[in-house]
Amino acid sequence: MAEGHQKSSMSYKDVNEDIYGIITRSGIGYYIICGLFGAGAAVLFILPWAYQIYVGQGVSGLNVPVFWGIYLVNFVFWVGVAHAGTLISAMLFITQTPWRRAISRGAETMTFFALMLVTLFIFIHMGRPWNFYWTFPYPTQRQLWTNFISPLTFDVFAIGTYTTSSIVFLYFGLVPDLAALSHTASGWRKKLYEFLSFGWRGTDAQWYTQNKACMFFSAFIMPLVVSVHSVVSWDFALSLVPGYSKTVFAPYFVTGALLSGFAGVLLMLSIMREAYPVMKKYVTDYHYDRIGLFVLVLSLMWSYLTLMEVVTGLYANTSQEIEHLKFKLATPPYMQLFILMIFCNTVLPLVYIVRKVRGSVFGRFVVPVLVLVGMWLERYLIIPNSLSRKFLPWMWQDYAPTWVEISISLGTLMMFISMFMMFVKVFPIIALFEVKEDIGVPMKNRKHH
């Protein structure tokens, strides 16, 4: 199995130490960078947000009729990034794809933090965020209930479910690792691990249950890969807005989400490998090879669906659709942005056809960054842009984000990075037990192919 893996020479102890090393052994520089990102988040995100809550949504560039701006773009973007986690953990878990093992924990962590931003952006884009809990169906004396036919209520459930199950799934995977590390660790970490591992002792029964639970959650989460982003796409597709109201949106959004998710994982791994050279032992060219192929395939699918999106608009041939397309495809600066998007998402991933590129610096860093940019642009070109050209030309208006929106977007990105960096300092970013499985000494009663 596992061609391309050269870990059989490693002992479990090596693995434990390597990974514990990732947790503990970092220079001051790491903490400074992490701190800087944290401070950046505070300044760029928390302060402007507080300002926005205090003064009103008017500090954004939103207007009539462009009521949805880059907050919603970010919302959809991060839902997309969150998707790779699910896919890698669940889909590949069920199919027992071996190369996922070294990267699944990282992907799940990304999912977790991305979902955090997703939730945040829901609040950020709201006019009265302090009333967010009204969107939950809870019994109140006033007998107020939520509107179950609203796609936003779907969202609440979809994202709620997704977040909960992702956290649980992440945690289930962590339990054996924490137990293992609690032997290696010292200090507060040891206490934390002991507490969080719930007295895991690695008995057969425990392994069996854990495996079953992971299996169950994989099966449970798997439909979410499709459903969550479909639901998110319905926020748009269920409206009448030209440019939103398209049946192709669900698969289109899911594909796009996976594409951005994989690009995100790719980028994250590459950065981690640079930060922790020891990870190179676990995350190898083989992984790049596989993920690269995924990105390539997804990019092709995405390109096809993009084409479909445009063509269905053309096919409808109503003034509404045509004007929407004209605005998106032929009006600067959106025309340039569209071209950039196509370059990032369609043209650039084609380089992955060449196997060598998949493992190259270019393939590891440049392509995923640009794919992410492209995917962000895709959402930008759909969400605010469609609203700029609705049914009554009298109300046509353009939209441009203000510094508050841009700052909050950057700040949340920084928050994502700093939180991820902190996570790495507390929890193993590579799933110990899964890697150990890879090493090949079967210690559990489990079948391999």
Binding site: V55, Q57, V64, P65, F132, T135, W145, I149, P151
Partner: protein, 259 residues
């Protein structure tokens, strides 16, 4: 009746906006575009009646004016054969309102009078209703707008003064409808045609706007609604609006039979 058809009926009931078979009233406005001369009296009447805030030049430049009703002007042709058409557009009180599906917290729903109502207190500001509204009828309180003293003395005490973060839109002057209903109740009679006149219709010099109950076959709107000039805005979207327009008559008009 079989159980299936019963269930089917029930389900169909549920799909109706407001979950009711029949509205008590179906308030409707008929706007005769052949009378309307685009003067804008209705717009300022709405400002006066409904405590609409003035947002200032900068905000107007961002398209954030809080006008519940606007006069759209469409131009056809080039000089010297220019044709101009005016159409007052406000919330159309769609019977199948896209905005109502959109709101996750039921801040906007259909009431028994056939009105699309907005519950300011319940609104959390997700903007979904406004994006879904094909008529761009909805306006948002981007800030808490204050009137400079003593202009605030003019505030209509019958209408809420909204604060930031809340969506709003034309109400057909619901406060006047409520007052008229109360009055009718006090007098132990049914609401009759002409009891309610929204501020815009009241001001309109040309008499282009007529308001009434479509459920009352004798009302002026019921009669006008049968006009062969009738059409509704963006009717193809199947929103079933409660504002009925009467076609403008003009030289190069698109006659149905002359195409």
């Amino acid at each position: 009746m079989s159980i299936f058809s019963k269930v089917k009926d029930r389900l169909e009931d549920l799909r109706r906006p407001g979950y009711f078979k029949k509205y008590d009233h179906k308030f409707t406005m008929v706007i005769d575009l052949d009378r309307c001369n685009g003067c804008g009296a209705c717009v300022s009447a709405c400002y006066a009646e409904n405590n609409l805030p003035v947002v200032g030049k900068e905000e107007c430049g961002k398209s954030r004016a809080l006008n519940w009703i606007r006069i759209e002007r469409y131009v056809e042709g080039e000089y010297p054969d220019v044709k101009v058409k005016f159409i007052p557009v406000m919330c159309q009180h769609c019977s199948k309102a896209p905005c109502e599906t959109a709101c996750p917290v039921y801040a906007t729903y259909h009431n028994q009078d056939g009105l699309n109502v907005q519950v300011y207190n319940r609104c959390v500001g997700t903007f979904t209703c406004a994006t879904y509204c094909p008529y761009d009828a909805r306006r948002f309180n981007w800030f808490t707008y204050k009137r400079e003293k003593p202009l605030d003395q003019q505030y209509n005490p019958d209408v809420t003064v909204r604060e930031m973060g809340i969506m709003e839109k034309g109400t057909f002057c619901i406060q006047r409808i409520r007052a008229a209903k109360d009055r009718a109740k006090d007098e132990k009679r049914a609401l009759k045609d002409g009891d309610v006149t929204p501020a815009c219709a009241q001001a309109c010099p040309t008499g282009a706007m007529v308001f009434g109950d479509l459920n009352d076959p004798e009302s002026r709107v019921s009669k006008l609604a049968k006009s062969p000039r009738r059409f509704r805005l963006l009717e193809e979207l199947n929103t079933d609006p409660s504002v009925i327009y009467l076609k403008r008559v003009m030289k190069d008009g698109r006659g149905t039979s002359e195409e």
